[in-house]
Amino acid sequence: MENVLEYLPQVLFILALAYAVYFFTRNVNRLKRNINLGKEQNRSDRKKERLKKMMRVALGQSKMVVKPIAGFLHVIVYVGFVIINIEVLEIIIDGVLGTHRIFSFIGPVYDVLIASFEILAFLVLAGVILFWTRRNITRIKRFFAREMTAWPKNDANNILYFEVVLMLLFLTMNAADHQLQINGAAHYVQAGAFPISKFLLPLFDNMTNEALIVIERAAWWLHILGILFFLNYLYYSKHLHILLAFPNVYFSRLDPKGKFNNNETVTQEVKTMMDPNADPYAEPENDGDVPDKFGANDVTDLSWFQLLSAYTCTECGRCTSECPANQTGKLLSPRKIMMDTRDRLEEISNHLNKGESMDDGKSLLGDYISKEELWACTTCNACVEACPVGIDPLSIIMEMRQYLMMEKSDASPELNNAMSNIENNAAPWPYNQQDRLKWAEETN
């Protein structure tokens, strides 16, 4: 009986780990399924260039530091989290094998590692507190748009609270461990250096080893369970960017920003129209390929990359704060375009999870994004330039405009006028094409 109890923590740990991995895998599979609802788009070319861009923009955070304060804080939190994860590896091995600080055999290197984790944990803590202050006290404008209420607002703060708790647990665990090492408690090997948590030692004055072990174990368990929970929180959060920023930058557009997608379906149609030998009454050659619509009015009309981007968006609002339409008080917010795309995709995802039909009579255009937002865009690419993770909200706006124009003929009379002028006089204004060179005869 005693033997069984001895293994109980290990068994519980393995169960918790297995459940977290199972739940995470399930969500990753849903994510993949949802992204694959998008249309084909070839982004497997120019691999070297893509890899370089990913190293520079995602790993190297090159666009984050365009805003120096937020960029600097983000780099600290990012580097801290990545490196502290080495410690998580040790914690997981310890948890499974029932060991304690299994990496401590590496000696002085271990001391250096633990010491640097502590310093990073402290910096992360400071960074996160400053982030919270910027978001809640300084009230930076881009965090207070109409799309930043309810869940998106809470989500952003939840992440910050979570990170504070995790870092505090990590430091408490180390401090208690350190005190136990000083006390010479059994099983607590002399290992690690604790430049930050040593300042917590006075809290443990006069505590018995038993009490310290309770504190150390509690902090250890809460810390790792917290991390496993956080891992599974990602899918429901803007924090998913910590994983998806990498593929999203890798697959992002490499062409000049001014080069908009060519609509191939339209090309086929126009070529047939302009071919003098084409038989106007002929049946379409491969009618299986005829698209059901031009442009996009729902997420399933968008490409897999655009859907990946929707999940990648971390709602920082840099796009929206650079948007000329948004700056002048129009409804358009590129960030909202991405959030709406994601929310609509999640709505469809929920139908699929329940085994229901995807067709719920709703659509991205209309139920989420209004025409007014779409028509306010000047296609200036400021949002695309601003995004630190390679998202292109403009491409979604353009495809929805195509739907409005070509499927619904739904544009303002002025714009329709310009279109018919182009069609009839080859210029957006009502001038005769034969007068195109008149300026050359004018003398002033």
Binding site: P256, N262, A418
Partner: protein, 263 residues
């Protein structure tokens, strides 16, 4: 200066079995809009002055389709594009220069997929090349010491990463080049792109061109230099709206060059 302009057409070159150095794509604004026509003429004056052999399509030119494409009318865009490509390819055009960043972007980036492959330059890039090769000489003239700020056209700057050519030309004029709060990669749009030129703006607090004009006014310029006929119109309107027309001129880079040369 009422010296008449020499504007040969591609048709006349073809009739003689010759090719010009470059095709000047005038664009709809440059052909019809009164303000933009001045930019066209300033450019031609410089080309005439330094003896660049260029030609225009004249009545064979038609809208590149940019406003149609950005408004979502891909059909109309591709019809326009294919018609233009047919004409350009028939004349075996290799090099194109245009004073409109929208035409520039569309022909350079979007025509290749529809069968139109050309070397396309914005007029500021072309003039910069002429400057580098020594054919174009620029001196300060009347703009020496003037405070000038350059408004980056979205389709030259962000869309095609060209920020330096217009600025280098301006520096040659010995002007005091000042930058607005949002410039280059972060340059703020004038409000005309994406078909906005041809429609009313959506409801908001103010017009984009007013917003941009306010940014320009913050640096107290004598001249707002533009590189796009649409930006030019928007900024001119903005300055007018602020009742600053007497203090702030809005001029295309090529107009500044032509004026400096007293052409």
């Amino acid at each position: 200066m009422s010296k008449s302009l020499h504007v040969p057409t591609m048709a006349s070159y073809a009739a003689e079995g010759k090719q010009p150095e470059v095709l000047f794509w005038v664009g709809c604004a440059g052909s019809f809009d009164d303000r933009a026509k001045k930019i066209t003429k300033a450019f031609v004056k410089i080309l005439n002055n330094i003896g660049v052999k260029f030609a225009v399509l004249g009545t064979e030119e038609s809208c590149t389709g940019d406003p149609a494409k950005r408004a979502g009318n891909e059909f109309l865009y591709q019809m326009q594009a294919m018609t233009n490509i047919e004409v350009l390819n028939a004349y075996e055009v290799k090099n194109i220069v245009t004073a409109c960043p929208h035409c520039f972007n569309t022909i350079k980036n979007e025509y290749p997929e529809l069968g139109g492959n050309y070397e396309v330059l914005h007029h500021t890039q072309f003039l910069k090349q002429l400057l580098d090769s020594g054919r174009l000489k620029v001196e300060g003239g009347q703009f020496e010491g003037k405070r000038i700020t350059f408004h980056d056209p979205c389709y030259l700057g962000r869309a095609n990463d060209e920020y330096e050519a217009p600025r280098e030309l301006l520096r040659k004029l010995d002007v005091e080049l000042v930058e607005m709060k949002s410039c280059k990669k972060k340059g703020l749009c004038c409000g005309a792109g994406g078909g906005q030129m041809f429609k009313d703006a959506e409801k908001g607090e103010k017009e984009v061109n007013i917003h941009r004009t306010e940014e320009a006014m913050e640096v107290n310029p004598d001249v707002v230099a533009a590189g796009c006929p649409f930006c030019n119109t928007m900024m001119t309107d903005g300055v007018k709206n602020k009742e600053k027309s007497a203090d702030i001129q809005v001029l295309d880079v090529v107009e500044l060059l032509a004026n400096a040369k007293d052409l």
